[in-house]
Every structure is written in structure tokens, then in C-alpha cells.
Amino acid sequence: MAKFITIGERIHVISPAIRKAMAERDPAPILKRAKEQLDAGADYLDLNIGPAEADGEELMPWAVQLLQKEFDNVPIALDTANQKAIVAGISVYNRAKGKPIVNSADAGDRITNIDLAADNDAIVLALCSAAGVPGDNDERMNYCQQLLERGMEMGMESEDMWFDPLFLVINGMQDKAMDILEFIHMLSDMGLNSTGGLSNVSNGMPKDVRPIMDSAMIAMSMQAGLTSAILNPCDRRMMETIKSCDVIKNNILYFDSYLDM
């Protein structure tokens, strides 16, 4: 099995500092966040520019080149609702360290993002939902099949489709948590790659509790077969949990300093 892939979530337009930096094309705050995440062990960086309806086509390539130039062609998840911005970002993207990720498609309005990924030889994050939260795993699997079919029709390799079960907030939807884990297991049994926004799990919990809850959830998810996650790599407890799970799963060979790598 391959090592678990972490996608750093901290370059996000919702952060005031990042929003300002993107608007002013100021590299420093963006590079700082990128470096923190890479130093902490992130494999991919998520680059969320928001809807970016006005200037996405200029902003995305600017930010992609900024990050890849500074950090040895770091692989990036291009995260926006603006399809033209994603295409523009991929057009300047260097694949030396990994394919670009299109974040994201779903089985509803955003299904054409699969076509976009297929046309551009990219990985696509495929949310197993259409509108709103699916009621149960039958519904999730139904969406998964629709997404998979679309990808196959478009000539994608199934390994380039990373299915997102949609992690749900525990504080509020506690009774759904085991469903999500079971769904990850179903994806794993089908040999599919998976990912998801892990931080959602501990949303609304006290700050000192969140790393513990996130670590427990990532460990249980990796046991169920999750192959990657979008998360905060600066959460040391969680990164150490992931490395330990990678060792337990025999994804990486144990050595005494494995936590340092």
C-alpha cells in the first residue's frame, strides 16, 4: 500500500490574511503558510481562491507559479468554483512532483469538473453528494457510481478519482460518524482512492480538544482504508498519528526516528 497523502488546507481565501494577500498579489503571507505546512510534512498544498469570479483566471496561475517556483514544484490541489481559473492554473502547472488535483466535483452541478480533470490529465476530488448531505450510505454509493461512470466515460483512470465521503461534524451529527467510516470501507473494498476534509469532524469543539478528536478520526479512517485527507498539517498530534498509522499499515518501514520524517 502507498503512504497516506496529506493535503494542507491552510491556504484558504476565508483567512483574512490570505484573502488580502491574494487580492494584492502579495507573495509573503502565502509563502509563509505554504512553508509552515510543508515543513510540517504536507504532501500536497490546497490552493483555495474562493469563487474568484472576477480575477480567478489571473489569480490561480499567479499563485500556482508562486508556490511551485518557491517550493520545488510542490504538487497542488486547485480549489475554486471557477472552472476557467482551474484550467488557467493547470496550464502553468509543473507535474514533476505529481499531477494537479481538481478540487472538486460532485454528482450535482459540479459533475463537469470530472470532464475538466479528464481533459487536463488531472486528479479529481469527487464528492459523493449532489446537493446537501446524503441521507445514508446507499445514497452515497449511488453518487459514487455516477461519478465513477462519468470518469470512465471520459477516459479517466479510476486511481485518479479520489472519492470524498464528506466528513461530518461530530458536535451535531454524532450519529452519522460510523456511517462515514463504513462508507470509507466500502470505497476501500472497491479499490478506490479516497480523501476528505477532516477538520470538519471537530468543528465547533474547544481548541484543545480538536487535535485529539481529529487524530482519533484519522486513525479510524485509515483503518477503514482512507488513502488521503485535506487537513491542517500543522496539527502535530494528527501528523504523528498518521505516520504511526502508516507504520502499522506497513505503508512505510518502521525506524526509530520515523516521527521526524
Binding site: A2, N251, L253, F255, S257, M261
Partner: protein, 313 residues
Amino acid sequence: MPFTDKPQVFGASINALTVGAEGREIVLGGSNVLPLYSFDAPIPNAPRVGVEVSDRGYDKTVPGLAEFYAGCETVPEQAKKACTMEGCDFIVLTLDSADPNAENTSVEDCVELVKAVYDAIDKPLAVIGSKNIEKDADLFVKVADAMRGKNILCLSCREENYKQVGAGVVLAAGCLVGGESAVDINLAKQLNVLLSQLGIPSTSVVMNLGSAAAGYGFEYLASTIERVKNAALTQNDQALQMPVVTIVGDDAWSVKETLLEESEEPEWGPREERGIQMEIETAAACIACGSDAVLLRHPVAVKTIADMIKELV
């Protein structure tokens, strides 16, 4: 159904590491396929054969060597003669007598000998220490210092002395170092990581994963080498992509099957034959598992293994 050839080529490769300088270089490693799987992709550098000579002279307990080294009185002369063995790629000088529990030859004398051997031979040089941890720390650092620019390979540092040896041999003198772990894959990885944390480039490091003669715990060694190669290639584990160097001759000539005289075990046949077979079988198995270089003693074993490699790669 027609056979469809699906080459198993990995997106990872063993580091290519050059031993030697001044026009007498060899390259170890560099391959991105399983050991000897040259049908999957070309193997850029075939496994290499090193010939061992001790600072006490050639191994007097090995039959046939007295004839081969006849007329070569000094260690440098013997090392020069070893270069003429068919299939010999490099010379390995073992500083046995430096052991404080043996003759305790001084570091200065060892350095002089290494220089004399280097000057006498026309192939790359590797040096094996006294196997005493404290002595070797000093020994390797001074030997490498005297061999600046020659790119010699020092075998080996251990977990207890990797800092002194790694810093002195690689960072200060620009030579190469082996990391020694006694048939322990996790320790092998740990040692490589520790060396890299010192700032030593992985392309200056080989792995000495331990040794064993066929029939004497060899399966542990074989599985260790195999698992190292698998992690290096299938998991792209960069802490295990160093070439593997395996000392074969020492163990092969130290077991009952190669030590007992024909007079003691008449049905076993001539001792020299048995020893050569043991060296060949052990070395061939090591190479099949993934060793990038094997160290041997008997000229017939050296030639046979070199011929085998030539046929397979």
C-alpha cells in the same frame, strides 16, 4: 492467449554511487528494477566484485591463495596481485591488526599501509576497519583524511560511531561511508536517517546489512536484503535506496563445511573445492537478493561470480 510482456519498472531507483577517482571509478547501484531483472529494464551498473586482502596479508587459511599470491611478500604487492584476478572490480583492505585486542597496530601505521596499497593498485579501494567501535572512529577519519580526493569507501560505521565516522569520512574528507547494521532492516533505515541528519548526502552512503554463509542464518540476511530493495523500489523509501555491499568471503570460509580438512571428512571431498562452492553460492544468492557488490577471497569464486553477472546483466 498471446503473452503480453509487462515490464515491472519502478518510479524509484537505487542511488548510483561512484567509488574511486583518478580514472579508476566504478559505479554501484542505479537500477530501477528488481535485482538482475534486466528483462524489465536495462540495469545501468551490474553488481561488482571486490577482493579482500587483510593487513596481515592474504587469508592463509584459504587453500589455493598461497599459490595465487606466491612471490608477493608485502600487503601492497598482494593487493596489486589481487587486481589481476579475473573479475576483480575493486580491492578491499581489511585492517584486522588494528584491533586493540589483537596486534593493536597504530592508526598512523594503518594510514601508511592504506596509502601504500592505494599506490600499488590500479582499481578503486575500500577499507574495512578493525571492528572495534572506538578504534574505528579514529581510524576511518584519519585514513579518509589521508585519502582525500581518492573517494575510497570506508566500511563501516555503526550506530555507536556514525557521528565521528560520518563527519570525518564524508563531510571532512569527501570519501564514502558504509552504514553497518547486523541483519536488522529497521536499524539499517535508522542509521541511514541519522547519517542524513548529519548532512551527509545519501549518494555518499552504502549499506552493509550484515553477512552470513549459506546454511548459517543466511535466510535472515537474504530476506533483509530483499525487503530493503522492496521498500526502496515499491515504496520509494529514500532512506533505503543506498547500494548494498555484502562481505561474503569472511563467513564463507569460517564454517564447518569449509574449515574441516578432507582427512577429517573424506566423503566431503577437497576443502578448497568446498570453500569455493560456499563462496560462490553465498555470493550468487546475495546478488539475486539485491547486493550491489560482494566481497570475495578466492580467485575461482571471483571469476565465477563475475562470469555469472556478465551472463545475467
